[in-house]
Symmetry: C2
Subunit: 206 residues, 2 copies
């Protein structure tokens, strides 16, 4: 999916197929946020005025580059997981054995389709936590960029959350579902206001 | 810029150049939101269960397709506008005539670099208003997709807002700056809670 041009991705997204959909856009938004964090680090590192922040910016850049690669891979992984769910629902159910095989396949696919956006949510949250120190210590000429990065990462987090929740509903493994929902709730609560904080921080300097 | 692959765009975004930056990501997020609205319309149109919403979905789809094209064009337009600002700042100022030419070029470039993200903000706001009726009347299997579309459009709106504000600061035309700021404030106020409303609407059905 990463080899598609931007125009092709937008068009295939808008098309009649359910994939790629919101889960892939969630991962893309996380990757866009990470890329903007890296960019602002790049525009800060090596500048005399920001020498005091140099070590922080280097560490944040390394983490943002790792997260960008991780989230970029999830763009396709999310669509693949959803396609597996659809394929499982399409399995034959005209015999008892077929019904059991189908049900097991659906449950396995739904678990994967929950784990992928949960991983996306976790990674988007990490991108969000990187935005604040960059907004505080990074190149002030690039503040709107880290503000946009935080907005993208927050959109990714909430979009991924909806994709976790929509798949949790069909899961029969109540323990797994409860653990996933609790972790998602914790991630959302811990990062809920971060994008707004960065937005206000950036706006206050203008 | 639309001919770059997704991976290339992410990498050039993360790179050492200030463009593309947050303004281009703002427009991209609006386009992603519009594409997701179109997708959910496509997955609703023609289905017996949603026959009552058919006309609405057709109209929303046409508008979303228009907005996607408009916002996709703004991805490159925003970077071009910022590059012009940088080029104007780079003009010679070793003579009085040169100083005046440079100052006029900076002001003209800053106006354009304000108008482009203001247009992006306006278009993202329109995408946001399309999300709610789609969440209410569209295919319920695709609710998380329109939820993600609303998150992307809201991120685009707020990111574009930061890009308007950062350029307004340098403008000498106080009337123009006041009008732009007032319009931005109105757009933000009118659409502030829409993405959250859609998020809660989607979440409530899960």
């Amino acid at each position: 999916m990463l080899t598609l041009s931007m125009q092709e991705f937008l068009d295939v997204l808008a098309g009649k197929s359910a994939t790629p959909g919101g889960g892939s856009v969630a991962a893309l938004n996380g990757a866009l946020g990470a890329a903007l964090v890296t960019m602002v680090c790049n525009l800060t590192i090596g500048k005399k005025k920001y020498a005091a922040a140099e070590a922080d910016m280097q560490a944040i850049k390394a983490e943002a580059e790792r997260l960008q690669a991780e989230l970029a891979a999830m763009i396709a992984a999310d669509s693949a997981a959803f396609d597996k769910v659809m394929a499982a629902f399409g399995l034959p159910r005209n015999t008892d054995a077929g019904k059991q095989t189908r049900s097991r396949a659906i449950q396995a696919a739904l678990k994967e389709a929950t784990i992928v956006p949960l991983n996306t949510a976790r990674a988007c949250a990490k991108v969000l936590t990187l935005c604040k120190p960059v907004a505080e210590k990074g190149n002030t000429n690039s503040l709107s960029d880290v503000g946009a990065g935080a907005q993208a990462a927050a959109a990714g987090l909430k979009s991924a959350a909806l994709n976790v929740l929509i798949n949790l509903g069909g899961l029969k493994d109540a323990d797994f579902a409860a653990r996933a929902e609790a972790e998602l709730r914790d991630i959302l609560a811990a990062h809920e206001n971060l994008a707004d904080e960065v937005y206000q921080l950036v706006k206050a300097t203008m």
